[in-house]
């Protein structure tokens, strides 16, 4: 399977461990990723809080590039990117005038026909049966709390993916590779996201709830599919513990780490050795 690949800023920067994990895991499953040539930022939170047209034009240019490069499907591993790409595509599909205007702005004919996939959808596309068959070391000791965060499933009208309040798709994937996901309460709560720069305490409080609830429901690790969530839950985990006068020791894996480990890939190959929380220190 060949997929267009839109890494977004995080995967080429602070979260390059996520990209390493993706390339290792998907490569082992026979998926090739063709990075969109000359891609630009999706606009993230900044663009749509400042300028509506900019927030559509930035992702629209990436959609146009994918189309020009003959890629019908584009994998965007960051949920913020995939949501912005989807939103821009939908806005233009429902408004011809806007589409023409944006096409002029980005100097490319925005077709809007490129479909956008998140990481879970990529695994679904590969097929759970195929995943099961490829497992070499089932993760039978792992009891992950699958954490979707805000944007994988929201806004439901835009992403149109799984149940916005009680999603189950990630559980199905980690279950297929032998782990025993726990049912817990905070799978779609916010981790604090970009507030990590502006108002760290808010993030520590919100992330603390997520970590605490996962532990309370018997999880021994967290699974995420978002670079930002990983930063807040992994890198900030020690600080969160100190802030709440407690101690967490909960490894935070990308969904591709889980699948990769089950496929027999090592921690160094997947970039897990670069995570902050190693686990098992308590």
């Amino acid at each position: 399977m060949n997929l267009g690949y839109y890494p977004g800023c995080a995967l080429h920067g602070s979260s390059n461990d996520y990209e390493q994990s993706l390339r290792a895991c998907l490569g082992a499953l026979g998926v090739t990723l063709s990075e969109i040539d000359d891609w630009i930022c999706c606009g993230a939170t900044s663009a749509h809080s400042l300028n509506h047209k900019l927030a559509i034009a930035l992702p629209a240019r990436n959609l146009a590039l994918a189309h020009r490069q003959g890629l019908a499907e584009m994998f965007a591993p960051c949920p913020m990117c995939s949501m912005q790409l989807l939103r821009a595509g939908q806005a233009m599909a429902s408004d011809t005038r806007l589409r023409q205007e944006i096409s002029t702005i980005v100097e490319a004919d925005v077709d809007g026909g490129t479909s956008v996939l998140n990481l879970i959808q990529v695994f679904q596309r590969i097929g759970l049966d195929k995943l099961k068959a490829a497992v070499k070391t089932p993760l039978k000791d792992l009891k992950p709390a699958c954490y979707y965060g805000c944007l994988l499933v929201r806004p439901p009208t835009v992403v149109n993916f799984d149940d916005a309040e009680q999603p189950q798709s990630m559980e199905a994937i980690v279950g297929a590779v032998g782990a025993k996901p726990v049912e817990w309460s905070y799978k779609t709560e916010c981790c604090g996201a970009g507030m990590t720069m502006a108002k760290t305490e808010t993030v520590l409080e919100l992330s603390g709830r997520i970590l605490g609830n996962a532990v309370a429901h018997g999880a021994n690790c967290l699974v995420v599919a978002c670079p930002m969530c990983h930063v807040n839950l992994d890198m900030k985990q020690r600080e969160t513990g100190e802030f709440l006068h407690t101690k967490f020791d909960l490894p935070v894996y990308y969904l591709s780490d889980m699948v990769g480990m089950a496929l027999g890939l090592g921690a160094a190959e997947l970039g897990i050795d670069r995570h902050f929380v190693v686990g098992g220190k308590n």
Partner: protein, 666 residues
């Protein structure tokens, strides 16, 4: 040549301000067929009507045109006027020069010209008007009431007490409906069962009410005064005539752990059960989906224990037919189904509240059962998960109501009141408890209603937060409710023991199918349509079919009862005459030219056109033809439009009349 009189009304200033009535009269007096033309300040007044009557007599008029307001306003008035002067009332036409002319135009010259045109059309039509007589149909003086909740019971009793027989059909094993399961009712806190069960018994024992419980209306044929109704009596597996209602069968039944429908899953019942002790009829029913004898020929203990031998495992559904003259629909409501599983893709539910995931998140009807003296906990409020008495309860209103994104756009009307009642009932049972309510607005219009809500807040200490709840989660056995207090501008987190969701009211299941059988309209949410929201609130567009209760719109008990009595009085009005008269402006088929293609039979929305045979005196078939049933035809004209041989026509709006109007305009 016709002798038509034209009477132009000023309507005070309403018409005369914009239309030069003097000029109109002078102009239309010249039209062919017009004998005389007059104007007057108020044609609908007594002197105005007297003028019309005098002219009819003096000029020997054979047609009248009144140019005034909409026929909706005064057609009946002027028909009576001309009838009083001895003219057939269907020889009167109205030209609407108010709503269609003076009210919507400014330019006096143009408005005057248009008024003249409108009258010219009416005159042209009048020349082809024929004398018509009202249609008379006989009446079966028996009524069918569908639904045995409080509205259906009230309607049935009122009709029966007026001296007419009633057939009352209820699909559950007992009548009583939702109200039978309520604890106490707002705003007086009187016990729901205490006020309802005497009415249920009365309905069950009334000599003129025939009760069909555990039954459903399967088919409806016929028309006002003459309905034929097919009723399916579902297999009960208990012979109602032999059973004494002793209840021994339920005691011996070993399969006791089935979720009770009456308790909305808050309690259990055996496989053979009466929904509740005061059920009417007090006869049990066997749940064929769980009974071991019916499924695999096992058990059979109840049959052995039953002294009168009333158990009949071989029972089957029975079809019965009833003849009635009028139908009252009182099928009631159900709650919006909260949570992940949704009946329609449109309703995305409220997964964030954890209904169906956390045992202690319940809906409002389930709460009613938990605080009801007849409920599974005998009125002691114990939460479903562990039976503990909740010390903090959060009530969330508008779950599914007034929510265009995930629920229904309408207000369910009763939730504000019953939520206030719930907080009171809770505080009366758990004095140390805290009741927290999240609301959007408090809508407490009604006699004693706002006072009731104030009492809940001020005397019983319910804490109200104006704002929504974003999420309910569970931690250490507590339900963490996160919401906003938008008046204080702060987020609120409450660690609750029980969460009660005031789910939106929706029409009961199957009401759309029933409405189609009855030819009654329904809105996009499935609520049945009344024929006029203000002036004909219980009638429907199907003659002889009336609605009451929550099947028409969300409403509380007093309103449902009032509407039921209104529907009953409309039934009594229908039955007051020995035969019914209907407007004669209906379709008729020219059977000589009908080619028997039956396009009209297939397209008629009222099923009023039938296939018929024309036979010679010796019985040989001459031809097939379509034939209009005058009792059913509503005069919509669809058959006229589809008839390829131009054999269908509408009396009073014949093609001849319509074309004459078009020609007059040309």
């Amino acid at each position: 040549m016709s002798r038509i009189g034209v009477f132009v009304c000023w309507c005070g200033e309403n018409i005369a301000r914009t239309v030069d009535v003097e000029k109109v009269v002078n102009s239309v007096a010249e039209l062919p067929g017009v004998r005389c033309a007059q104007h007057y300040k108020y044609m609908c007044s007594d002197p105005g009507q007297a003028m019309i009557r005098e002219k009819i007599a003096a000029e020997k008029l054979d047609g009248v045109v009144v140019a005034s307001c909409s026929p909706h306003m005064h057609l009946k008035t002027f028909r009576r006027t001309v009838a009083a002067a001895g003219l057939n009332p269907y020889l009167l036409e109205m030209a609407n020069i108010r709503e269609h002319c003076s009210w919507v135009h400014h330019d006096r010259d143009q408005a005057t010209a248009k008024a003249i045109d409108l009258i010219r059309l009416a005159v042209a039509k009048t020349r082809y008007d024929r004398k018509l007589d009202p249609i008379r149909v006989p009446v079966t003086r028996r009524a069918l009431v569908i639904g045995g909740g409080v509205a259906g019971i009230q309607a049935a009793l009122d009709i029966a007490d007026s001296g007419y027989e009633v057939v009352l059909v209820e699909r559950e094993p007992s009548i009583g409906g939702k109200m039978a399961g309520l604890s106490e009712t707002f705003p007086t806190l009187d016990c729901s069962q205490c006020i309802l069960t005497p009415r249920m018994v009365e309905a069950g024992q009334h000599p003129r009410i025939r009760l069909y419980t555990y039954s459903e209306v399967e088919s409806v044929d016929g028309f006002i005064g003459n309905f034929k109704v097919g009723i399916r009596q579902k297999a009960r597996y208990v012979d109602m005539s032999k059973c004494t209602g002793c209840g021994e069968c339920s005691k011996v039944c070993p399969l006791k752990r089935n979720l009770s429908e009456f308790d909305y899953g808050m309690g259990m019942r055996p496989a053979i059960y009466m929904p509740f002790p005061q059920a009417v009829p007090a006869r049990p029913v066997i749940d064929k989906k769980v009974c071991a004898k019916i499924i695999r020929n096992g058990c059979g203990l109840c049959e052995k224990k039953c002294a009168p031998g009333a158990i009949d495992f071989k029972d089957t559904d029975k079809m019965v037919e009833e003849q009635v003259g009028a139908i009252v629909v009182a099928t009631g409501y159900k709650l919006y189904s909260i949570g992940r599983e949704q009946p329609s893709g449109k309703l995305h539910g409220y997964g964030e509240y954890g209904y169906g995931k956390y045992k202690d998140v319940i809906d409002s009807l389930q709460f009613e059962r938990l605080v009801s003296a007849s409920g599974p906990t005998n009125g002691e409020l114990k939460r479903p998960s562990d039976g503990k008495i909740p010390q903090k309860v959060v009530f969330i209103s508008c779950v599914g109501s007034r929510d265009n994104a995930k629920g229904m756009p309408y207000c369910s009307k009763i939730c504000c009141m019953y939520t206030a009642k719930h907080t009171m009932l809770y505080k009366h049972k758990v004095h140390s408890g805290e009741a927290h309510v999240f609301y959007m607005d408090i809508r407490a219009g009604g006699k004693g209603y706002d006072e009731f809500v104030r009492r809940a807040i001020e005397q019983d200490g319910a804490k109200y937060y104006r704002g929504r709840v974003s999420k309910v989660t569970e931690e250490n056995g507590k339900l963490i409710v996160r919401g906003a207090d938008t008046l204080a501008g702060i987020p609120v987190t409450i660690e609750a023991d029980l969460v009660v969701l005031a789910a939106a009211m929706r029409p009961a299941d199957g009401v759309a199918e029933l409405a189609q059988k009855l030819n009654v309209g329904y809105d996009e949410h499935g609520f049945l349509l009344e024929s006029h929201p203000k002036l004909r609130p219980v009638e429907t567009n199907a003659a002889g079919v009336f609605v009451c209760g929550a099947c028409q719109a969300p409403k509380d008990i007093p309103e449902a009862v009032a509407q039921a009595s209104a529907a009953a009085s409309k039934v009594a009005v229908t039955f007051a005459a020995s035969e019914l008269t209907r407007e004669p402006e209906i379709a008729h088929i020219n059977e000589q030219t009908c080619a028997a293609c039956f396009a009209c039979v297939r397209t008629c929305p009222y099923h009023a056109v039938e296939k018929a045979e024309i036979r010679a005196r010796n019985g040989t078939l001459i031809k097939y033809t379509a034939r209009v049933n005058p009792g059913l035809c509503m005069g919509c004209g669809t058959c006229v439009a589809v008839c390829p041989s131009k054999s269908a026509d509408i009396e009073g709006f014949s093609e001849e009349e319509i074309y004459s109007m078009v020609e007059a305009l040309a």
